[in-house]
């Protein structure tokens, strides 16, 4: 037996003295988070994007307040704002006015502004949560498949194929008939949203999964993985601490692109009757309803279209910035 320099017990005793001289206090370096934040703050474009995202989140959160101040109740029909014969808004610009900031919907006369505001809740919720579900699942499965290889890889890859080949629409429509009113402690729309998140999120993961797998395949050959293993790191540790940080960039790129896809996916499902039950507003749902009026009431289409677009743009700008900020190699 040689004598290792310090056994745990020994360092405990040595601590006070050592701490004073070289302990954590003297640490002038910044943590990863701090560095990223510092960089991010310098990136004006990314910060604008981030600010917009925060704004939209606030809008969603404080929807009742905002609508109370600036709009009409979102589900209230205002047929007096419509031409009774045509069902289209009276006045130019789709009925835009101080009371109806973005105008009113054809047919119902509902306030587009407040529906956009309330729609932000569900659309963003679904957009995010579903993206989160697929990103998490995809990352976990992809990383496992890529790292372990062999039969694990084959199994997961084939599983991904199955999911990709799965007739999602069919599944969604079959579900409508069997959806209970309440399950898992959720009711009505909450349950609907949960199911939507599940469907959208759960069936999208193989997409990102395959990409992550590909990246992992090459990462696992890197020497630092071996180095980590030689320290006695288990597979879980290596996956989490060594590989994951290197996958941040692709994950961010895909997540920011998945969000709009998911928001629109909700619209498609709404269209098939598996979406959120009316009259609850969602951006995607509004968009698909607006198609019929794209030339007679363009504001009906533009409002949700722009809402989705701007949110997505903001996310992408922020995501790009974040990716750059997290990349230790980027200089300025």
């Amino acid at each position: 037996m040689t004598a290792p320099l310090d056994e745990p017990g020994a360092t405990e005793q040595a601590q006070p003295d050592a701490d004073a001289e070289s302990g954590g206090v003297r640490d002038r370096g910044r943590s990863l988070g701090q560095i990223a934040w510092m960089r991010l703050r310098k990136d004006r474009v990314a910060m604008t994007g981030g600010a917009f995202v925060v704004l939209m989140a606030a809008v969603a959160l404080f929807a009742p307040l905002i609508v109370g101040l600036l709009g009409q109740p979102p589900n209230q029909w205002n047929r007096d704002m419509l031409d009774p014969a045509l069902g289209t808004p009276i006045g130019g610009m789709g009925g835009m006015s101080g009371d109806y900031l973005f105008g009113v919907e054809p047919v119902t006369g509902r306030d587009i502004f407040s529906r956009i505001v309330y729609g932000a809740r569900i659309s963003m919720l679904i957009g995010f949560l579903a993206t989160l579900v697929s990103v998490v699942l995809g990352t976990v499965m992809g990383i496992i498949a890529g790292y372990f290889g062999g039969w694990v890889d084959s199994l997961i890859s084939r599983l991904m194929d199955i999911f990709l080949a799965f007739p999602l629409l069919l599944f969604a429509m079959a579900l409508v008939g069997v959806l209970p009113d309440a399950a898992f402690g959720l009711e009505d729309n909450a349950l609907r949203i949960a199911i939507l998140v599940f469907i959208i999120g759960f069936f999208n993961w193989p997409y990102i999964g395959r990409i992550i797998r590909g990246q992992t395949l090459s990462l696992r050959e890197r020497e630092f993985v071996e180095a980590s293993r030689s320290l006695g790191a288990g597979n879980f540790y290596i996956l989490r601490k060594e590989l994951l940080p290197n996958l941040v960039a692709p994950i961010l790129v895909y997540s920011t692109l998945l969000i709009p896809t998911n928001i629109l996916f909700e619209a498609a499902l709404s269209f098939l009757g598996v979406g959120v039950e009316p009259p609850t507003a969602t951006w995607g749902g509004m968009l698909s309803e607006a198609v019929d009026y794209y030339d007679s009431a363009p504001n009906f289409m533009l409002a949700p279209g722009l809402a989705i677009f701007l949110t997505v743009l903001a996310f992408n700008l922020f995501g790009d910035g974040l990716r750059d900020a997290l990349d230790p190699r980027t200089q300025s």
Binding site: N75, A85, V107, G177, G273, E277, D295, S296
Partner: protein
């Protein structure tokens, strides 16, 4: 007709001249007539279809025993003999209806059309549900056929006792009970003759043997463009109608609606064969353009839109609770949901105005048709739910306008404390599995069910029987969504079937209508109207009251 302008909005009245008269009347022949459909017909087999548009369309190649007069307005409801020399001759006991075929009738291959061919056509279309099951089954219900199993199970047609053919030109129908409106059945495309040796079962739709002015151009594949060319064996002399104007008829299927409308307005297409009218976007285009308006008609479609209230679902077991719904509904909003006055007139009872026996009654009328708070409160009080209650509204989730109407109902009820939740189901299974399954309705507590109904033939019986008769309630595929099983109503409808005199039948229908309204299980809200467009270049365009769309058989093309 005439679109209403009374509500103060834009002027949405359109030309409408094809409703009352014939536009561009002409005898010219020639040209290719182009139809399009946003979907496709259930089948082109005249014996296997239940679409009014298809019934209208099959007249190009499938002549029936009798048919509707080629005239605009009321006159178009008149039945005239087609293959038969006369309308049906009924025996004194009312159990035998006899038709005699004209002479010189030929199939496209030149062979003679015989009574046997008509008998065979009915045998296959009504008695072989394992093969052909898309059409109505009135003959099956009314004919006294014993245990006949259909021509595919039982190769010997003589075993089919429901119809006898004493000679080549006589067709005798033997009924199990008298049925006064049998001539209407004889106008069904199911009576179009089918030569037994040319029948290919469910494949017959690919090569229907024509008895009319046009025949299929080769074999047709479902979903692919259909081309009809002239049938050289057709003799116009035998035909009471003129239905051979164009040289060629073509149909494109599955055309996207908005796109189809645009092409229609552009003149790229001649007609939307589904006959349901243009969609919202084109509707706006037409109503904003006087030139387009001049080519548009806005007729009633004979289709009634309503919500059925199911009395097996609480609290609708209490009539007063049902009443609260009827008084609370804002019908103008529901009308708006379908597109305003152009989409239909507000309905106040369960018969469409074009059905004989219609009376302008409004038992639950409210001011401006927007609901009556006092009466709702009163009803709620009466049913012991003064604070309101909650229930579900079922609708077809892939039908936008129905969804909007359900939303409108939801909105108008909300102010009275009646909370409703919308339950959308796919249209494809709505009747077979959800709204049409009493067990499902009860379990899911679907108190209010959106629906729409049109008559199989222009009579009260044809309209009311399926949706109100207690016997019509089925475990699956039920159309009587209210599950109304009123002995009085049942009795009256049965009685109507055996009443010869049309005026007394009308009386009965009016009574049935009144009883149904009294039951408070129906919330009718719209007598649907369609906005039809007839592009320049068509001739002989008029609206057929029988099919509730342009009479396709009469259409011609203006020659340069």
């Amino acid at each position: 007709g005439g679109g209403g302008n009374e509500d103060g909005g834009s002027d949405v009245s359109v030309d409408d001249s094809a409703i009352s008269g014939i536009v561009d009347e002409s005898t010219e022949q020639g040209g290719t007539l182009n139809y399009a459909h946003s979907d496709q017909f259930d089948s082109l087999d005249p014996g296997n279809t239940y679409y009014a548009a298809n019934w209208d369309f099959t007249r190009y190649f499938a002549r029936t025993l009798v048919t509707y007069e080629q005239k605009p307005g009321e006159a178009g409801l008149e039945l005239v003999p087609d293959l038969a020399t006369d309308l049906g001759e009924v025996s004194d006991d009312g159990l035998t209806w006899t038709y005699t075929l004209k002479e010189g009738l030929k199939f496209q291959d030149g062979s003679d059309i015989t009574a046997e061919d008509v008998k065979y056509a009915i045998a296959r279309s009504n008695f072989a549900p394992e093969v052909l099951n898309k059409g109505p089954n009135y003959f099956n219900t009314h004919l006294d056929a014993g245990g006949y199993e259909g021509p595919y199970e039982d190769g010997n047609l003589d075993n089919f006792s429901g119809i006898s053919t004493p000679d080549d030109r006589t067709v005798e129908f033997h009924l199990n009970e008298p049925f006064a409106e049998f001539d209407y059945l004889a106008a069904f495309p199911q009576t179009a003759p089918v030569p037994a040796d040319a029948d290919t079962g469910d494949q017959y739709q690919t090569q229907v043997v024509s008895s009319g002015p046009y025949r299929f151009d080769g074999e047709w594949t479902p979903g692919k463009q259909l081309t009809l060319v002239r049938n050289e064996e057709y003799d116009p002399e035998t035909d009471p109608l003129t239905r051979n104007r164009p040289d060629k008829v073509q149909v494109q299927w599955k055309q996207e609606e908005n796109d189809r409308d645009k092409r229609l307005l552009n003149g790229d297409l001649h007609m939307d064969v589904s006959g349901v009218g243009v969609e919202a976007s084109a509707r706006q285009d037409i109503l904003r353009d006087d030139e387009l308006k001049a080519n548009a008609d806005n007729p009633q479609t004979g289709f009634l839109l309503y919500f059925a209230l199911n009395s097996n679902v609480e609290p609708f077991d209490d009539r007063a609770c049902r009443e609260a719904i009827l008084y609370g509904a804002d019908k103008t909003a529901m009308q708006g949901a379908w597109g305003g006055s152009i989409a239909g007139d507000i309905a106040t009872n369960m018969l469409p105005p074009s059905i004989p026996g219609y009376k302008d009654t409004d038992p639950y009328g409210t001011e401006g048709q927007t609901g009556d708070e006092a009466k709702v409160d009163e009803s709620l009080e009466e049913c012991g739910m003064a604070d309101g209650f909650s229930t579900n509204i079922a609708y077809r989730s892939d039908r936008d306008k129905e969804k909007k109407a359900a939303e409108a109902l939801q909105q108008s009820l909300k102010q009275y404390g009646i909370d409703t939740e919308l339950k959308g189901y796919p249209a494809g299974t709505y009747t077979s599995e959800q709204a049409g399954s009493p067990a499902f309705v009860e379990r899911e507590e679907l108190g209010i069910l959106a629906y729409g109904w049109g008559a199989d033939w222009p009579s009260g019986y044809g309209f009311l029987q399926q949706i109100m008769h207690g016997d019509a309630i089925k475990d699956a595929g039920n159309a009587n969504l209210s599950e109304l099983d009123d002995p009085e109503v049942n009795k009256l409808l049965d009685q109507a079937a055996t009443t010869d005199d049309p005026t007394s039948r009308e009386e009965i229908y009016a009574d049935v209508n009144a009883l149904a309204m009294d039951s408070a299980t129906f919330l009718p809200y719209l007598n649907q109207k369609a906005l039809l467009y007839r592009p320049e270049g068509l001739s002989n365009v008029y609206f057929s009251e029988a099919y509730k769309m342009y009479d396709y058989s009469a259409l011609g093309l203006e020659q340069n």
